[in-house]
Symmetry: C2
Subunit: 189 residues, 2 copies
């Protein structure tokens, strides 16, 4: 286990990749993002960090609403397409089939198997170029056929993960074991 000092960068692996939906200038717009994390339990809150140059930031600030859509492998190309051009230059309102819940400005993607409808709760400026938007998840939706009782089946959700240094998308692989369980009998050698 020889350690080497490496170039500092966004070296967190793996990153979940989701598609943020928002209305900008009255039109649905979509942005893939991998800098995303749950940050609160009750109420459930989700955080995204987006460069202030992004077109989507403007819409989130204006309307205080956004959606988080978990893409599956079958829509990876459409998602990536949304990341190639800014909403400033490309109308992305027709890329996906859309639906709405309680919020008028949080367009959700039908083709994404899981959707979160979020009300902006906190905006935080890192002062280094990014806005951190923390949304309260007010509703969640899933495709009926991925549900296992009350929860989405992870193997049917088929989410995508992103490795930032080599810029690749990856599938989920084998199950390793249960959390708060697999280490119960752990003993150091």
């Amino acid at each position: 286990m020889v350690k080497t000092k490496i170039r500092v960068g966004p070296y967190l692996y793996p990153m979940p990749v989701v598609i943020v939906g928002a209305h900008v200038n009255g039109k649905p717009n979509f942005m893939p993002i991998a800098w995303v994390s749950i940050v609160e339990h009750k109420p459930p809150m989700i955080s995204i960090s987006a460069n202030q140059s992004h077109y989507t930031n403007k819409g989130i600030k204006e309307n205080q609403e956004f959606s988080i859509n978990t893409p599956s492998v079958d829509i990876v190309k459409a998602m990536d397409y949304c990341g190639l051009k800014s909403g400033k230059d490309l109308d992305k309102s027709g890329v996906f089939d859309l639906f709405y819940g309680d919020l008028e400005n949080a367009p959700m993607i039908k083709e994404a198997r899981l959707n979160l409808e979020c009300k902006l709760a906190i905006t935080f400026d890192t002062k280094k170029g990014h806005d951190i938007f923390i949304g309260e998840i007010i509703n969640a939706y899933a495709e009926e056929n991925i549900m296992h009782g009350e929860i989405p089946d992870f193997t049917k959700l088929q989410p995508i993960i992103f490795s930032m240094n080599d810029n690749n998308y990856w599938k989920i692989g084998e199950k390793i074991g249960g959390a708060w369980s697999i280490g119960r009998d752990y003993k150091k050698d």
Copy 2:
């Protein structure tokens, strides 16, 4: 694609799981966490959200330093073990072999293939139970044999992802394709 409204909860998939290292009351302590995200590029900053009841929070606040260690499949049991008991009740300083970089209070795990040394930059109280700690990554370290030129090889890193609703750990699977690339020729049907 029939959508159903589901119970609202921390439904973000997949979550990267990392091990946070900190000194608490002068001793190294470790906490697995999946609510983690990069939030800034220059300088690189990483955010974690941790319940205020955690023992680790106290140490991060006191010393303004912590580490982020990316576990691989081979140390999943030791990691899970650290999540089963609080540092209040269990001395975790001997669970891993440790090393230090420039910071005296950011213990890093030798057995983890990637390590980030972080200086606390921003602390944010959600007012709902969690502390969001944003650290500037001042140094990064990797096992020499996982490097591919200047960057860690994702398939050699073998990171772990976590699905929160069913509480399972998962391996990374097949590569899907390149970001900012695979969607270049996308056309809606």
